[in-house]
Symmetry: C2
Subunit: 353 residues, 2 copies
């Protein structure tokens, strides 16, 4: 069995209180005895038992994260930055993943009741009103990532603005018939991105052809932010919209990949026939030359952790709702200026048809 504080105390001929002081370098201890105790502790390979410490201190030094496990690039990158930010502190990360949406509440309940953690990071998940209050009542700090709630801290992407920028880019390139492929509207970011998209069109006096040019559905229960959904959506768009829009804003890069696959199969060339802007800037966006809105994922994670730790440590209160801006990364999927001029003409032609 591993050595306990009693073993150290006995061998050092002191009380356990003194050992505790030595370990936690309390100022109320003689430097000599402290050194001696530490030496003995070392010799015995003594390591404080984390759980016992937590129980006595009423402080677990772990933070919990609730993540939907869509194996999406976004979540990995986010977790990575969370982990990195945490590794500088003395907190461990415990992972609760929600595979099926209906388990969300049960998972959150568990986090709430087990009291295994000092704070919670909830990623991309909506929080029912009742729960927000539970967290507050339990005095358990929470910060939402990629989502919003009045009563809870949050850091998210400025989705509306990002979508607006994406659409504006397309408009600036001269496009007039612009479509959008989105995730399911039950997703909060999906909703906002649609709003931003619509806003951009309307502000430029373009008509927002909701019925034919905007595809928001995905299989029920899924967000539709994946390759297959993008593929299916693009197929539908090709089938239902004549002529095809000259440009497309796709709510996520992974969907974009599916869109590209469907386009290729249908002989739709990118960017010649169709300009494409994605959202996220996943690793492979660069590889396929996709123009996209880059999310500052790492910054989000870092910020969320920083805020959570501050809340846990009692400094800092008040509302906290950060929105980080997405950045337009121009690559080849919208064509070059030249290509654009050429295409404008053919666009005009196709509109005349």
């Amino acid at each position: 069995m591993a050595a306990t504080i009693y073993d150290v105390a006995k061998k050092a001929g002191v009380g356990i209180g003194t050992v505790s002081r030595a370990i936690n370098n309390s100022p109320h201890i003689n430097v000599g005895t402290k050194a001696r105790i530490l030496a003995i502790a070392n010799e015995l390979h003594y390591q404080p038992h984390a759980l016992a410490q937590s129980l006595a201190r009423k402080k677990t030094n772990t933070i919990a994260s609730v993540v939907p496990f869509f194996t999406n690039y976004f979540y990995v990158e986010l977790l990575k930055s969370v982990q990195r930010a945490l590794s500088r502190s003395h907190y461990d990360l415990i992972l609760f993943s929600v595979d099926r949406m209906n388990r969300r509440d049960r998972t959150i309940d568990r986090v709430l009741s087990e009291r295994r953690c000092d704070g919670v990071l909830i990623i991309s998940l909506g929080v029912m009103d009742g729960y927000a209050e539970k967290f507050i009542a339990a005095g358990l700090p929470v910060v939402l990532i990629d989502h919003m709630h009045q009563a809870l801290d949050s850091v998210a992407i400025a989705n509306r603005e990002g979508a607006f920028a994406a659409a504006s880019h397309l408009i600036g390139l001269g496009h007039r018939r612009i479509g959008m492929i989105n995730g399911h509207l039950s997703s909060y970011p999906a909703k906002l991105r649609l709003e931003g998209f619509r806003l951009a069109l309307e502000m430029h006096g373009l008509d927002f052809d909701d019925r034919d040019l905007v595809i928001c559905d995905a299989k029920a229960g899924e967000h539709g932010f994946n390759e297959a959904a993008g593929y299916a959506a693009m197929q539908r768009l090709i089938a239902q919209s004549h002529p095809l829009p000259g440009a497309l804003f796709v709510a996520s890069d992974v969907q974009c990949l599916g869109v590209m696959r469907a386009a290729k199969e249908a002989g739709v060339r990118i960017p010649q026939d169709l300009a494409l802007v994605g959202f996220d800037d996943i690793e492979f966006a660069k590889f396929v030359g996709l123009t996209t809105m880059r999310q500052p994922i790492a910054a989000m994670g870092r910020m969320a952790v920083t805020r959570l730790l501050k809340r846990i440590e009692g400094r800092e209160n008040g509302d906290f709702h950060r929105e980080l801006e997405a950045e337009l990364i121009v690559r080849e999927s919208c064509g070059s200026r030249q290509a654009f001029h050429v295409r404008t003409e053919s666009d005009t032609v196709s509109q005349q048809v």
Copy 2:
């Protein structure tokens, strides 16, 4: 403050022992009082304190995972399956990520000493001999994933066999000059994949041109299993090897993506000029039509968890070293049979040059 077992006991007019029995549905309790206690517990929103339970039971119901955070698709997929397997049990997952390799030992030390967990999953990380013994001495079950150690349980891919199969596929297609781009040889899988590759060539009487056709380096300290490394390696291969090999086995799909990018830039067509086989079958392999060795990642995770839980629960001992086979997924990056015949000819020509 949340209700404790004492609150419930007092309100129910019983001792805390009885409450404990009710909660943990012990058989030694009157069904009537049990129901009454449970009702009261419910009413008080009583939830046992996980840490206190752990301390008293000497059982934490959490398992720790040590993961290198390369944000590699492999790790996400693996964690996902681990998480899924765990969600059926009563174990939580605590995540220790090792960002810099030199922190590996410190992290493992921590897992070992904190005694926060009942078992450990170590992913893709080598374990120094000293540590294996420490784990055993501490009675802390471990299973290694994607790695091997004599004294520890492990589940891994049959890397050697997989590489062998990949190379054999290329050979079967008629290629005679075959190159390989690998990760850094400090990586265990990289080493095995090279062995398998070499074995296949030698078994078919081809010469294994180590010096010019095999590129194993990456930046020091990194495994080199990423897009940039693949890109760089391919550039080097193009520069140093005349003529270019007709086929290439690349040790991972992400590297393959980099290889493809470099090839494209250099005007090397795939599969016409160069046949390509990857390893992993990441999500985007399908998208780019990459022929590759599919790793049964989910099965690995599941298996590792199953084994770990068995070990924790004391049943099952003895050695456990599973190797799962990778499966060849044929797509377009090696060309079709027809294309192959054509290319054989040009290969012959280029060899005559």
